[in-house]
């Protein structure tokens, strides 16, 4: 005889089983396989004949940590995270505040317009931006020339390539976070602002002491997702620069892709994937800790 509680548990499992099975087969299994792969030297020789596969222990990881190219890619990725992340969040928040402001007319129009880049295909966007960035015929340099600034080789100059890609990525993605911020803003009760105004709080103090604290959870979510997104930056440099000039825009995921699918060094590429995973996990835990500390102190 099955008790009612067990019965409920069983039917819950039964309903969950298809989804769990799919997640297991299409997610956990590949991840596990990749982990195993990262301890082998799986390459095209092994692909042709498994006798030519060697277990190499942590050699891939050691080689990765000794490879200047990996450190270049890691440095570039941190650049994306540290500069692109906060910039993305700030622009999204600014746009959300503007669109959500009582003074803005046609908020629906602006909301849709700012969201448009998010739903546009990245490759199409990247091609258009490459025209904008063109050193001689690009619109951006034309604009700069009007105020007397020398043309900049946006995607060809090692110093400018990452800022140029970040600029495009921010423009492409801020709409998504903006929508989340707007939802967060609309959840803040209006009477808090009323009370603050009666107390004579300036708009800046209202923002500092009402908007920001109450947006806390939204902020955390947006910051985490943006950070993870920039850690995994791939398509933008892949389409716009292929990692150049002189590997200045090579990101860790782009390096992983090149090693894995261009050179077919699956073992090495898997090791890079797990190092990146560990980094993202560490950064996420750190952010969660900081947030918890803030809440406790605040």
């Amino acid at each position: 005889m099955i008790g009612p509680e067990r019965h409920a548990a069983l039917s819950a499992w039964a309903f969950l089983a298809p989804a769990l099975l799919l997640i297991a087969v299409f997610f956990f299994l590949p991840v596990l396989a990749a982990l195993l792969l990262s301890f082998t030297d799986f390459d095209i020789y092994a692909l042709g004949d498994l006798d030519r596969l060697r277990f190499v222990g942590f050699a891939n990881y050691l080689q990765l940590l000794q490879s200047p190219l990996f450190w270049t890619a890691l440095g570039n990725t941190f650049y994306f995270v540290v500069v692109g992340g906060p910039l993305s969040v700030a622009v999204s928040l600014g746009a959300a505040l503007l669109v959500n402001s009582r003074l803005t007319r046609f908020p629906g129009f602006f909301r849709a317009a700012f969201f448009l880049p998010v739903v546009t295909t990245l490759v199409a966007v990247a091609v258009v931006w490459r025209y904008l960035y063109h050193p001689r015929y690009g619109l951006l340099n034309y604009g700069l020339s009007l105020i007397g600034i020398e043309p900049i080789d946006w995607l060809g100059d090692p110093a400018w390539a990452i800022p140029a890609i970040i600029l495009m990525a921010v423009w492409k993605n801020f709409g998504f976070n903006m929508i989340i911020f707007i939802a967060g803003l609309q959840n803040i009760p209006a009477q808090l602002y009323e009370a603050a105004r009666i107390d004579g709080a300036s708009p800046w103090r209202q923002f500092r002491h009402i908007t920001l604290p109450l947006l806390g959870p939204t902020f955390l979510f947006v910051a985490l997702m943006t950070m993870i997104g920039y850690f995994q930056v791939f398509a933008e440099p892949y389409v716009m620069t292929q990692g150049g000039p002189a590997n200045r825009t090579l990101s860790v995921v782009l390096l992983m892709y090149e090693e894995g699918f261009r050179w077919w060094n699956m073992g090495y590429a898997s090791a890079a994937a797990f190092v990146l995973f560990a980094l993202i996990l560490a950064a996420t835990v750190l952010q969660l800790r900081l947030r918890r500390k803030q809440v406790q102190d605040g």
Partner: protein, 425 residues
């Protein structure tokens, strides 16, 4: 991911099985993968083939060049290779190492000896490995000079240079004859081809000890590399990558540079894109040599191969033989502008009369293959990387070559291990 996904999968699976049943009739359908414009243009040749072989139908799958290598490897890993495919001839060692291509020696036995001798020998050599033929050249490609006859004449050179020394003098004269924005030659700094060509001309071996170690510090390579770097140091070549040269044809027309090292596809492009008044003032020339004899260039091009696991190899071989016929090669040239791999197809009037193709025919007699190992593309990539660093002066020549040897030795580690075990890699 929703739970309704699973039934959907089952339905798709069932449909797949049903699809297999209906395909079992009399005709054989050969799946043929070809790249870029070749994949598009080859269709025009197929009605004739299908007329001659009523039992065979050909399905051409067109693949963009940029994704071709990855797609072939993925198809191999996923056991879904086509019956016949086009591949860059530098990829052949890799697909042989994968045991993905069928050796053609048995099938070539009935061929008259003259037919194989009709191929450019340097190009055919890239399709052979350890004495076996794994693919047949489809069209050929090599690199040589595209240059401005008027600028060279104005600089005091009526004929293109044939030895390094003349070449250097001609470039210096070209540089001096123009303003500060003038360069003698355009060599994109992110390419490995020219440093390797110069090294081969100088007699460098590139790799040593049965291709098990890098040999980039040997004097021959170092001298060629120093010659290459000097072109940038002396301001004869601008230190720019491919992507930075905004419009190559416009700059060539303006005389920003007078010499460009490129391949046959640019014959058509130069004809179309250069202004009409410039058309009489450009030409092609084979590469100069270190000592004034014939300067070698790279044996490039694309080949056709059969998949080793295909059950339709017989039919696919008939298609391969058909595309190898001189008449089809000549027609393919007319469709694509790709240079035929068989010399008899060159006697076709259109090509015989093309003044720009003449230098290519000459150059194709002196082409060398890069080391026939699967790791070559990676090695070439490292050469381009260190060449760029050296041009940008982030590394001096000896540091760059030492780093190159170190990287290449690491890339070849697996090959050394396989050879030490007595396994053919």
């Amino acid at each position: 991911m929703s739970p309704s996904f699973l039934p959907l999968l089952l339905i798709l699976f069932a449909l797949g099985l049903a699809g297999c049943d209906s395909a079992a009739d009399q005709t054989t359908t050969v799946e043929f993968w070809a790249m870029g414009q070749e994949g598009e243009q080859v269709r025009a040749l197929l009605p004739e083939f299908e007329r001659r072989h009523p039992g065979i139908r050909v399905r051409v799958q067109q693949i963009p060049w940029s994704a071709a290598h990855e797609k072939l490897l993925t198809a191999y890993a996923g056991d879904s290779m086509p019956d016949m495919f086009q591949l860059g001839n530098t990829w052949i060692p890799e697909f042989v190492a994968l045991r993905a291509v069928e050796p053609l020696d048995e099938r070539l036995k009935p061929w008259p000896e003259a037919a194989l001798a009709d191929y450019f020998p340097g190009i055919l050599a890239t399709n052979r490995l350890d004495g076996r033929t794994y693919a047949l050249p489809w069209y050929v490609d090599t690199r040589l000079f595209f240059y401005r006859t008027d600028l060279l004449a104005a600089a005091g050179f009526a004929e293109p240079p044939t030895a390094w020394e003349d070449w250097l003098r001609a470039m210096a004269a070209l540089k001096n004859a123009g303003d500060a924005a003038r360069y003698a030659i355009l060599l994109p700094i992110n390419e490995w081809q020219l440093p390797v060509v110069l090294a081969l001309q100088r007699g460098a071996s590139l790799l040593r000890d049965r291709n098990q170690y890098g040999n980039f510090r040997e004097p021959a390579f170092r001298e060629a590399f120093a010659f290459y770097l000097q072109l940038f140091e002396r301001g004869l070549a601008p230190p720019v990558s491919n992507a930075q040269m905004a419009n190559l044809y416009q700059e060539f027309a303006k005389g920003t540079f007078a010499i460009y090292v490129s391949g046959p596809w640019n014959i058509g492009e130069f004809g179309r894109r250069l202004p009409a008044d410039l058309q009489p003032h450009w030409h092609t020339a084979s590469l100069p040599a270190f000592d004034g004899t014939m300067g070698v260039s790279l044996a490039g091009g694309a080949s056709l191969a059969l998949s080793r696991t295909s059950p339709r190899r017989e039919a696919a071989w008939k298609l391969l033989e058909f595309l190898a016929e001189p008449a089809q090669q000549a027609r393919f040239y007319q469709l694509t502008g790709d240079l035929p791999a068989r010399q008899s197809a060159w006697n076709d009037s259109a090509l015989a009369e093309n003044r720009y193709a003449r230098a290519f025919r000459q150059q194709l007699q002196a082409v060398r293959a890069t080391p026939p190992i699967p790791e070559w593309e990676r090695i070439a990539n490292r050469i381009a990387y260190y060449a760029e660093l050296a041009v940008r002066r982030e590394l001096d020549i000896d540091a760059a070559l030492a780093a190159l040897d170190r990287d290449v030795d690491r890339i070849l580690e697996k090959r050394r291990w396989l050879l030490a075990r007595g396994v053919t890699p």
